[in-house]
Symmetry: none
Subunit: 415 residues, 2 copies
């Protein structure tokens, strides 16, 4: 069953605020067999909420709304639920009992504002709030329901957990999912490779998400055959992607590199020019990475390349700092200086300045030195400074991964 | 004028993905005189996008949509814009020219899928994309407009910046804004310091946005007196913040550090343990930073500290790698090894493991060595691994800034 998420609160539309309840709810709703069809953030006027509910109900039979059910002036959700469902608000004994008890416990006066929280649209049921004052609302609507929970995350979360069995009965259909990650080819190329597989698994929805140098593939199916179809398709996708597949189970690139290094007991050093620390920073996102990551030289400046990694000045003068020769010298230099089994080097032009017709902005050389060999390659990356840097970082980690997998496709790694 | 934000992409409705374009757009749209009325995340079927556009258009005259304008199968925004506006799709010469040029530069074949990006709803104008392949779309709709931009943040952001003058003409209600940045104290402390100033400038809305170690303050007022009030308040805020003010004009911390180094013709080297390259990476976001940033040693491992920066083994054994003595030795070592005027060092425990009762997770030591002196301090930072690392990075840059401003408040830099 599909579900729409609505968050109300004018502050959620202002700079610096972020709607996070939906991020928390999404995986849990999926776990109970729902698929989130849309998310809306609406301001807290009654009219806005009614219109948001109208749109949300047109997209899915289950609507889960957060916010606006407390006792203050800008809490307009009850009113909006009544208007949207065409039912009148009636005083609910169970809700009133809970509000009065909450006020007594917390020594709050039982004001008329507090008692507003005891009103529900006719036919609605009270959802007890064990953390705060405002009871939630469950309103059956045909095959689905309208649910209103508080916007305060701790209250919303506790109440959602109570609702899980009821939600499971409502959805009646488990969803199977699988996340796969790959590196190298772009999104459209990945898409073309996996598209022909879809026919044999018509029930599976395939979604791809691209970041510079990486593509995440989500597989998803419902129904009794869903799990089998997702597993079947993921096996075929893995075969198709070959060495471009980083993980068939959603593991990050840095985690995979870490795991492969651990398995071989190899240590890595990095020599970075244009990425200037990003390769080291990304690899060390993995807790415990000091066991495989030895040292990183950020030699952004030409003199630093000579000083830190013994790259001959004459080599830089002859080939330029952004060249195959210098990338290889950096990798060899790091391997020797830090005594590691493996070293990776990156040197490139991130822009916006520094490009030329022979070496345009985006030109990057990588080199890896490893026991008994070395490899290097060049690519011209697109985008602005930050995009080029993060793409170059991803490729650096990915070529370490490929070396560790003993693959040899380095001259043209992404063809 | 009100504005609705629509983000399309089925992956944005999946667990673990987050719609961040709207967070970036909101403050900038506000700066151009718009008020965000609602935000919608829709899946990427044509029907969903059409319905999301219908709702969004009912809420505001300007609709800004991101995502779904690329060349892949799940890019359905063009179609949806045409359906929603009741106009047919026509081939646009300017868009086609840009797509072909992009393919030529990046040696991509000009496929029919790529050429789909050259179609616009009739009457629409192409918005050039200088970072990626997909041109954007501007469609005038009565007093407002329908705008479609790519979902890739770097592309969307670059294109939004181009549109600012056009957006300003559309909103016709000038808003005076000012962005100020400060580093050191937390958000609530900054808030307490500047709150008393509000009374004298009642028209100005003050918003603060916190990141680890930094607070951005937005001042904003509309109407004829807006600019004067914003300027007046910003002067008072700057006085109040003193040395904690990084920039009164929204300049980033790394830019300020770069500028101060350039002005003195000083060169900087960095020695990083727990931040593992993040300080170097952040400073080199600034184009041209190779003129001030000399070298970075990522000595995540203890042995690397000795090898790269001549930190005595015995010192590490006696005090531990996370200690004032080792931080100072790292800074001195970097200064000497790389021959720079200034060196900054960071060593700490980012967690989740590695903490103890004497040195809990989050314990970080910084040291700066400079001509004729050195300074060091310690703090215990809160949060998870990534938060501790980025907070430590910010403090490292900030203490370089304070040294460059000849301030001496290092023992307790943030009191």
């Amino acid at each position: 069953m599909k579900a729409s998420l609505v968050a109300t609160g004018s502050e959620l539309l202002r700079p610096g605020f972020r709607e996070t309840n939906g991020d928390w709810i999404t995986p849990r709703l999926e776990g109970e067999g729902f698929e989130v069809a849309c998310r809306v953030v609406a301001s807290d006027s009654t009219e806005s909420i009614v219109e948001a509910l109208g749109y949300a109900r047109s997209q899915a039979p289950l609507v889960l709304l957060t916010g606006g059910i407390g006792p203050t002036r800008d809490d307009r959700t009850r009113q909006a639920l009544a208007l949207s469902s065409g039912r009148r608000l009636v005083r609910d004994a169970a809700s009133e009992h809970r509000v009065r008890r909450w006020c007594a416990t917390h020594r709050f006066p039982v004001t008329s504002a507090q008692l507003l929280q005891a009103f529900l649209p006719e036919g609605g049921r009270c959802i007890p709030n064990r953390v705060g004052s405002a009871p939630g609302i469950w309103l059956d609507m045909g095959p689905g329901a309208l649910i209103a929970l508080p916007g305060v995350p701790s209250e919303m979360q506790a109440m959602f957990e109570q609702l899980r069995p009821r939600l499971r009965r409502l959805s009646r259909s488990p969803v199977a999912t699988r996340t796969m990650r790959c590196a190298g080819p772009g999104e459209s190329r990945i898409d073309r490779r996996i598209q022909p597989l879809q026919k044999a698994f018509p029930e599976v929805e395939i979604t791809t998400l691209a970041a510079p140098g990486e593509v995440t593939i989500q597989l998803r199916a419902r129904g009794s055959d869903g799990r089998r179809q997702v597993e079947g398709l993921s096996t075929r996708v893995a075969e198709r992607l070959g060495g471009d597949l980083v993980s068939a189970r959603g593991e990050t690139l840095e985690n995979v590199v870490f795991r492969l290094l651990r398995a071989r007991r190899w240590r890595l050093s990095v020599a970075e020019s244009c990425t200037a620390g990003l390769v080291a920073a990304r690899l060390t996102r993995v807790p415990g990475s000091s066991r495989v990551f030895w040292a990183g030289a950020v030699c952004y400046n030409d003199r630093a390349k000579t000083l830190m990694l013994s790259v001959p000045k004459s080599l830089i003068a002859r080939h330029g700092a952004v060249s195959r020769a210098v990338a290889l010298a950096m990798a060899r230099g790091a391997m020797k200086a830090y005594g590691t089994e493996l070293a990776v080097a990156v040197t490139g032009i991130a822009g916006p300045g520094g490009g030329s017709s022979r070496k345009p902005v985006g030109t990057v050389h990588w080199a890896v030195a490893f026991p008994g060999g070395e490899t290097s390659f060049r690519r011209i990356l697109a985008g602005d400074r930050e995009k080029i840097r993060s793409h170059a970082t991803c490729i650096a980690l990915d070529c370490v991964r490929r070396v560790l997998l003993r693959r040899r496709r380095f001259g043209r790694p992404h063809s």
